[in-house]
């Protein structure tokens, strides 16, 4: 981390309200950093989906488990980590929500939205024992707020880059 890097970490209960709390917290950081309204929407939605994933699939809505949310700010990007205490999962095992047979599925679009809305996205084995979703967005230069142009792309267009 550079000397200017900042780290923020919170532990959230496995509760629906944690989804709103996490979104709100990251939105405040994103706004303070200078992301545009549209990029803030994408970041907020991605955090929301990451925490919903941890709440529902990772921790299976068990109140004794926790959701760990961390934000790293460097000069270049905002990196968000969402960790659960579940059993973990492999991205390759997640069904494609755009496949014809999955279009009428009532779930399974969260990962897709995070991939589409963030610059980088990955899932690894987390230090909390479950999955760790890592996603990042490049911080706009001071005084400007460019779009990343991901909006509207399909999952194949929004192929995530691996975290270093």
């Amino acid at each position: 981390m550079t000397p200017e890097a900042k780290h923020l970490e919170v532990v959230l209960d496995t509760h629906v309200e944690s989804v709103n709390l996490a979104e709100e917290m990251c939105l405040r950081v994103a706004e303070a950093v200078g992301f545009s309204e549209e990029e803030c929407y994408r970041i907020g939605m991605s955090v929301r989906e990451g925490v919903i994933n941890a709440f529902h699939y990772g921790n299976q809505e068990k109140p004794d488990k926790k959701i760990h949310l961390a934000v790293d700010l460097t000069r270049e990007k905002m990196v968000i980590h969402v960790m659960d205490e579940g059993r973990g999962f492999r991205l390759a095992d997640v069904p494609d929500p755009l496949a014809e047979e999955n279009l009428l599925s009532t779930s399974g679009r969260g990962i897709f939205l995070m991939r589409a809305f963030m610059d980088e996205f990955n899932v690894v084995a987390g230090r909390t024992g479950g999955a760790e979703v890592i996603m990042s967005k490049k911080i706009p230069p001071s005084g400007s707020a460019p779009s990343n142009g991901n909006h509207g792309k399909s999952s194949s267009d929004a192929t995530p880059k691996q975290e270093a």
Partner: protein, 115 residues
């Protein structure tokens, strides 16, 4: 303050639900589910959801829209969408649900499509 408000009105044989707020995990999704299931229980199967004042939908809300669509279709009815905001429009587009739902920008045209 509730996440979502739903107001019901009838135009001919079509039930229009004017929604405003957020359709997201928790209250918003739950209200949409109760509303659609309630209409089906009342025997209403021509349902038009006016999303003109819905400024936010997450994956849970998308799932609830799909669930409602399927539940109505299983009763030989039709659930259609009216007046999408840009954010909702874009979400349905990238999730390919535009190919699933009938979407209208004009209420009169939407109502007539059920006849």
């Amino acid at each position: 303050m509730p996440a979502l408000f739903a107001t019901r009105r009838e135009v001919g044989s079509v039930t229009i639900i004017d929604l405003s707020g957020r359709i997201s995990l928790g209250e918003g999704s739950a209200l949409l589910r109760q509303t659609v299931r309630g209409l089906l229980a009342d025997g209403q199967t021509k349902i038009l959801l006016n999303l003109g004042d819905v400024n936010y939908i997450d994956s849970s809300g998308i799932g609830e829209l799909v669930s409602g669509f399927t539940a109505v279709r299983n009763r030989d009815g039709e659930l259609k969408l009216l007046n999408l905001t840009k954010k909702v429009h874009d979400l349905l587009q990238i999730t390919k649900l535009f190919t699933v739902f009938d979407v209208y920008t004009d209420e009169h045209t939407a109502v007539r499509s059920y006849q």
